[in-house]
Symmetry: C2
Subunit: 618 residues, 2 copies
Amino acid sequence: MRRTIATVCLSGTLADKLDAAAAAGFAGVEIFENDLIASPWSPERVRERCAELGLSLDLYQPFRDFEAVGPDQLRRNLRRAEHKFDLMERLGTDTILVCSSVSADAVDDDELAAAQLRALAERAERRGLRVAYEALAWGRHVDTWEHAWDIVRRGDHPALGLCLDSFHVLSRAGDGSGVTSMSGISGIDGDKLFFLQLADAPRLHMDVLQWSRHHRLFPGQGAFDLVTFTGHVLAAGYRGPLSLEVFNDVFRQSEPRRAAVDAMRSLVALEEAVGRRSPRARERIELAAPPPAPEPTGYAFTELAVDGESGTEVARALAAMGFAHVGQHRSKPVQLWQQGQARVLLNSGDATATAVSALAVETPDPVTSARRAEALLAPPVPRTRGPAEADLNAVAAPDGTAVFFCRTGADRAGWWADFILTGSAPDTGTALTGVDHVALAQPFDHFDEATLFYRAVLGLDPRHDSEFAAPFGLVRNRVVSDPHGRVRIALHGTVLRRGEWAPGVPDPQHIAFASTDIFTSARVMRDRGAPLLSIPDNYYDDLEARLDLDPTLLARLRECRVLYDRDADGEFFHFHTEVLGSRVFFEVVQRIGGYAGYGAANAPVRMAAHREARRHPS
Amino acid sequence: MRRTIATVCLSGTLADKLDAAAAAGFAGVEIFENDLIASPWSPERVRERCAELGLSLDLYQPFRDFEAVGPDQLRRNLRRAEHKFDLMERLGTDTILVCSSVSADAVDDDELAAAQLRALAERAERRGLRVAYEALAWGRHVDTWEHAWDIVRRGDHPALGLCLDSFHVLSRAGDGSGVTSMSGISGIDGDKLFFLQLADAPRLHMDVLQWSRHHRLFPGQGAFDLVTFTGHVLAAGYRGPLSLEVFNDVFRQSEPRRAAVDAMRSLVALEEAVGRRSPRARERIELAAPPPAPEPTGYAFTELAVDGESGTEVARALAAMGFAHVGQHRSKPVQLWQQGQARVLLNSGDATATAVSALAVETPDPVTSARRAEALLAPPVPRTRGPAEADLNAVAAPDGTAVFFCRTGADRAGWWADFILTGSAPDTGTALTGVDHVALAQPFDHFDEATLFYRAVLGLDPRHDSEFAAPFGLVRNRVVSDPHGRVRIALHGTVLRRGEWAPGVPDPQHIAFASTDIFTSARVMRDRGAPLLSIPDNYYDDLEARLDLDPTLLARLRECRVLYDRDADGEFFHFHTEVLGSRVFFEVVQRIGGYAGYGAANAPVRMAAHREARRHPS
């Protein structure tokens, strides 16, 4: 099947959009009318440019408010259609999308609608064109695919068929009204399925038109079950392209080449998931799927970029937390620090600001992991390496963090062999065992792209979403992880941009280490001089008022400045260091029972404390 | 009456918020619990700091999910309340907000709710405290003010009263369900009205909780009729403070001192409007109102900041449009250009980029206009002037544009006298008569502040809202104008930030001149070499398909590259120059009949053409 994208998904002028679609490997585009109207290119020039770029023109859209009108209005609408047919001939595209009328002039008469669509199809057929009719979820009389399909059948003309848009189907199928569902789609006559538009979306409780026009997402970024949906469409015998039509406020202002890659990644991952569900669907898709994701088994290491001053500060903090500087890179200014299974590299090679610069994921098959990443359009990270050094496979995540694929053997070959061991040993008295999660700040307008990247490339699924009011703006949190919680990446970002006024600490990133005994960790680290964050007494007064905790436990929390949360399945204890350098800190966490969260309720308290620590350094 | 603000309205830590509230002149604050919890200050220190700042602590909020529960839960809730009462004593605040329960544990039993609230009030009274009960619009059983008031009356205790929040009342009163209204509010016993929270909001069709938590606005920025609402509350005999409680995603990340000034301006303007409606309400408010806004009668001039190169470019364009350089400032590098009633100053004094740097509004009483602006916290713009030059009153709009108040006398005294006349005369052949509107790009996070600024300071009301998909992101448009359309300011901004990738022309600003004959204007200006913007043929093909225009008219539009729009009341013709310097262009418009818009449907075409002109300069 061919992969296509509607020009409306991308930012820029028509020229920008076509370039971006071609660069990302799309085979064709849907031309969104307004993009053409605002273009200085004649339809012939657009056609020529698409040919140069290897793009087909698969659909012209949308044609609105056509059907079920009185005779005068019909005459005007047919005249309008003939003008657009002229245009389509010049463009060299053969299918026009007609969406169900939202006009107050339209009457509720399916026979009339069908007859008028048939008349339109007759005119289209004379020119070798065809009409794909689609039910808008907010259509005046026709707002379900079943209704549109019924009208297409009544119209009964070879040049009249159905267009299915996953948003219009799934936004209504999930609203509990029971008036529409997706299960019947596989029963549609495949030859009458003229076009398929795919879009995901978050579940929002709002006006469906606004939801559709502002909040659509690429497949895999939202909450819709597009795998089942697409499976039904393929089962019906659909043979047209898989086309993306996504209206999204953020994508509308994003760099279009980047957005087109995000779009392509979503489609490749969707096809893979559909194919995995059904071998017949896989055959129908025909396109090569990326190699399956080897399941990540943990973190090999996390790398922090540091400069001279912050390097010293971070090293001192790690030492106080029981880490030892166990290795030194053979050719680069990189230190390896370790405690339990937690390994942190401090790289002072080319840092401009302290940051999490790389994650290294343990995988049973680094080469396949890297091949998969490449198939999913992850940009490779070029690395310089010495003659005897390991060839590490790395790609760049959307926020620029390098993601390495490693297999840390028991023989300590591979990346480990690049380090000369110092002979130092960690202090196990701080009760740390490994990494619980790594938290990466995301620019707000790349949040959905990042979700899809980790989901598609590493096979990590979103398992935890939260949004909370932080001192300097609303913060969105999403954790992607493997099913066993061995690789958990907490993505967080402000819902809008972070206000320029925001003082103190801009969007810090952190590594959370797992402790087997949070109070021991806190006491020993404090005694060793770790720069632990001070938490206000007011927090503990509120815990006391709110939770009716055992007084001994509360006293220990208060004494050790440990934060607390609980859910139905367990408890969560955590504390943090101050921010080190410009934007990195460490967290120590202990999970009791099946607690699944990340203490998001405490995050505003931590953020205010970080601000306070910057205002009044201890 | 006292003016207070909830700390939740502002960004930052509690310390930042208190500083900002005091600096803007608020008399007190509502302490939002989470702000206190995250603060390192003890309640005693908060009390002390408020005293230092001259702020009272008017409310502690919120206390959730208290009433209509079983005996065990009641015991836990009372324990929780006693902890909060301890805190309130330490803070020195006497009123706690209890909002109607959203808990699944709450039962639908008004008698039980009333009895339990009475029990809470008894405990509060022992400590000299009181309980203000509020219906959340999404409360589980209690979601209207009428219902909450009924429960308060049943509770029948002197320490139990009602809190009214305009959002909870008006979000429901306008939903057509008819279950609640605001007209009965004036019948409430004033002594039982313990607290009043004010918030505005745009009319959105979405989940009411999300609407409330993310999209509230300060009074005068949204669609709620707060003047009538507040009038009812005052008529009931309410004597507490007028307090703002606004949850807004943008304000949460804005500089808090600036947001607090915006908040104060909204309250002063609301009081003025309430007082204007009712002399009794004015007496009750007691606070000094700003002097009424003298009605602006037009533009005296618009000033562009230019540098050497762009100054030449702009001057050449103005000359081609029929303007003449009629005057030169006595002491500054400022040229006065004129054509009809349109006057443009080109100021090369301290420009870094071409921009609309000032608007001068004609007012019958510049001194009163300036006094009003000052009373509404508009920051004055300091001006240097020569010994014989006019003392112009100017304030800074939120986007930094200077707003001057002028009276251009027939004797050409005042600002006009600062110019030495050159003797040049405009060419009237271009059919321009004056300024139709000035369009100013707004940073997206100051859009609502700008609306309120022009509304409150100049008395210009929002009369036209639109939102459209432009090539580089969604754009929001709002025109504020006087009732006669003599001073129209079109505010526009991206809905999110503008994407960093966006090429070409960042957020241009423009001056639109009125023409009495658009085709003459276009032809003459083109002949004189004006840098007019080229519009694609596709646009005219679409006009033809869409509108069934008279072929002669269509041909003239196409020939002259004039854009067209129409509404029920009239027609609109317009064209534009290319962008001059970094971000300014001119528009020429002609209105036929009562057309009320600004051709927003054509704006994306114009924007793409501007991008194209930059890519391929003519």
